[in-house]
Symmetry: C2
Subunit: 111 residues, 2 copies
């Protein structure tokens, strides 16, 4: 699987506020399709389609357990793609690293 094709799908997937929200929800916990849909105004099929887009981009993975389908994040995909591209655009990714460090420290202070 070419990384560029994956990058295409990841950025496509991220270009939607509901989908970015879904990823943020899944950052904290594994959730069923119904759990996720309950957090949105839109219909369940609409949420289901968003989940498909995210799964096809390799950002999340689904697992059917009984009646439910649980979704969880694959954090590596996101970080690899974002860094991979940031690397192309921000030489040596220095700003990205610097910013990461600052934010990590802030969170350490807060946590």
């Amino acid at each position: 699987m070419p990384i560029s094709g994956l990058m295409e799908r990841v950025f496509q997937a991220l270009a939607s506020t509901p989908r970015r929200k879904i990823l943020a929800y899944l950052a904290h916990a594994e959730l069923s399709a119904g759990d996720i849909a309950a957090r949105f105004e839109m219909s369940k099929p609409a949420v289901s389609q968003h989940l498909s887009v995210l799964e096809n981009a390799g950002l999340i993975v689904s697992e059917k357990r009984g009646q439910f389908v649980f979704y969880r994040l694959i954090p590596d995909t996101l970080t690899n793609v974002l860094n991979g591209y940031a690397q192309e655009v921000c030489p040596v990714s220095r700003p990205l690293k610097a910013e990461s460090r600052v934010l990590a420290e802030q969170q350490r202070e807060e946590g």
Copy 2:
């Protein structure tokens, strides 16, 4: 200007291969609209529209000098938004930092 509105526009802007390519070109040098258009198969107006999208997202800035319009990157917008969102999704942004380091080393080896 709310950061969330900017985030929306940035991710929207990044969801296009030609636009990501434009940013990569501008990472290395300031270029005129014509210089950029020459690197693509599509028409000049099409490229011009892509440049508008990128500029409205705060990712690039334009400056008219004589007959030409030069574009250059605003790297901070990209790193701030990508990190801001990665922060929401990847707790403590640890993976992001780790990946940055790996990629930076790879580039050091290659360069």
